[in-house]
C-alpha cells in the first residue's frame, strides 16, 4: 500500500520534476515560455509561440463578397440640409422609341455623373411598353393595323445633388439631349419603385378579403 502510494507519489514527483526542468531550461536559454513572439499565453504548445504562427492564414486577405440577392430595403431619404440644400434621390428617365438612342444617352449621362463626381445609386431599365397603332382609312370604317411601336425607358438614379449645381447639370443634359428622346427628372417615389415588380394578384385578393 505504502509502496504503491510511494510509487504514485514518486511518479508525480517525476513529472513535476520534468516540467520544472523544462521551464528551467527555457529560463536558462533566456526565453520566456509564456511571453514569446506572438504573445500567445501558452507555455506547453511551443509552435504557437514561434514567429511562424498563422503562416497559412489567407481568409483575412480575401474580400468577402456579400451575395447581392433581391432588392434590398429602399432607403428613401430626402436629404434636406438646411440652407445648403441637397436633393434626395432623383430619377432621370429617358424614354424613346429607339432603344439604341435611349441606351447611348443613358450611358452618356452615367459617365457625365461619374466625371462630375455625382453619386449614381443605380442605372436600370424599366420594362418596355408595346403599342399597337391602328389607323382608320379615309374611305373605310375598318381599323387596320399600321405598326407596332415599342417604348424603351432607361433610368439613372442619382443622389447628393446640390441646389446650385443642379441647374448647371440640367443645362448640360438639355444641351446634349438627342432627337427623339424625352427627358424627365423627378424624385424617387414608392410607386416608381413598385412599378418594376411583377403584379401579385393573389396577395391583393387576400388583402381585399381581409378588409
Amino acid at each position: 500500500m505504502s509502496g504503491t502510494l510511494g510509487k504514485v507519489l514518486g511518479l508525480w514527483n517525476d513529472t513535476l520534476c520534468k516540467q520544472a526542468f523544462s521551464l528551467l531550461r527555457f529560463r536558462v536559454l533566456g526565453e520566456n515560455p509564456i511571453y514569446s513572439a506572438g504573445g500567445v499565453l501558452r507555455s506547453s504548445r511551443h509552435y504557437k509561440t514561434k514567429p511562424t504562427h498563422g503562416i497559412g492564414r489567407y481568409k483575412h486577405l480575401v474580400k468577402v463578397l456579400e451575395p447581392k440577392k433581391k432588392r434590398a430595403k429602399v432607403q428613401v431619404r430626402a436629404i434636406n440640409l438646411g440652407t445648403d440644400y441637397e436633393y434626395g434621390i432623383l430619377n432621370i428617365h429617358m424614354t424613346a422609341y429607339d432603344m439604341t438612342l435611349a441606351e447611348s444617352y443613358a450611358q452618356y449621362v452615367h459617365r457625365l455623373c461619374n466625371k462630375l463626381s455625382i453619386k449614381v445609386e443605380e442605372s436600370y431599365a424599366m420594362p418596355t411598353k408595346t403599342m399597337e397603332v391602328l389607323r382608320l382609312p379615309d374611305q373605310g370604317s375598318k381599323m387596320t393595323l399600321d405598326s407596332v411601336l415599342t417604348t424603351h425607358e432607361r433610368v439613372v438614379q442619382i443622389s447628393g445633388l446640390s441646389a446650385t449645381f443642379a441647374e448647371i447639370f440640367l443645362e448640360i443634359l438639355q444641351s446634349n439631349l438627342p432627337e427623339g428622346v424625352s427627358l424627365s427628372v423627378r424624385e424617387h417615389t414608392e410607386e416608381d419603385f413598385k412599378g418594376r415588380f411583377k403584379a401579385r394578384p393573389e396577395l391583393e385578393e387576400l388583402l381585399a378579403k381581409l378588409n
Partner: protein
C-alpha cells in the same frame, strides 16, 4: 325554441370568423415574406431568330490602303471628339465659375438673399423636356384617325401553394 339557433350563431360564428381571419393573416404574412420578382425586360433578351448561325456575316478582308485609310479616319474622328469634349468641359467650368462669382457678389450685397439663393427650388422637380425634332411642326396638319392599343405583357408572380 326560437332562441337556440340564435345562440349558436352568437358563439360559433365570431370564433369561426376569427379563425378564418387568422388563417388569412398567416397566409398574407407568408406571401409577403417571399421575395418580389422584377419584371423581365424584353430589351435584354435577344430573340431566337437573331441567334441563327446562318445570319452571321463573314469577316471582311481589307486591303492595306483601306485599313490605313480607316485607321487615319478613326484618329481624325477621335481628335475631333476630343476637341468637342474639351469645349464642353470649358463651358461647364466657365458656368461654374460665373455662378460662384455671382454668389460671392450676392453674399456681399445681402446675406438673406444669398441664403435664399442657395436653397433648392421645389418647383424644379418634375422636369420634363423633349428632344429636338427633325422637322418643325407643320401648320394645319390633320393627323389620320386611329387609336393606340397597349399590348404590353403583364407579368404576374405565381406563389407556389397548390400542388395539383
Amino acid at each position: 325554441m326560437r332562441a337556440e339557433p340564435q345562440r349558436k350563431k352568437k358563439k360559433l360564428d365570431p370564433r369561426k370568423e376569427q379563425a378564418v381571419k387568422d388563417r388569412l393573416r398567416r397566409r398574407i404574412r407568408k406571401l409577403e415574406k417571399a421575395t418580389q420578382e422584377l419584371v423581365p425586360i424584353e430589351d435584354f433578351i435577344t430573340p431566337l431568330r437573331f441567334l441563327d448561325k446562318s445570319r452571321q456575316r463573314p469577316q471582311e478582308e481589307h486591303s492595306p490602303e483601306e485599313s490605313e485609310r480607316r485607321a487615319l479616319l478613326l484618329k481624325r474622328w477621335a481628335l475631333y471628339k476630343q476637341q468637342e469634349h474639351e469645349l464642353e468641359k470649358d463651358t461647364i467650368k466657365a458656368m461654374l465659375e460665373a455662378q460662384q462669382e455671382a454668389l460671392e457678389e450676392l453674399k456681399l450685397e445681402s446675406a438673406e438673399l444669398y441664403a435664399e439663393a442657395i436653397k433648392r427650388d421645389p418647383s424644379l422637380f418634375p422636369f420634363e423636356k423633349e428632344g429636338p425634332h427633325y422637322t418643325p411642326p407643320i401648320s394645319n396638319y390633320q393627323a389620320p384617325e386611329g387609336k393606340y392599343n397597349d399590348i404590353t405583357k403583364v407579368y404576374t408572380q405565381i406563389e407556389f401553394k397548390k400542388y395539383n
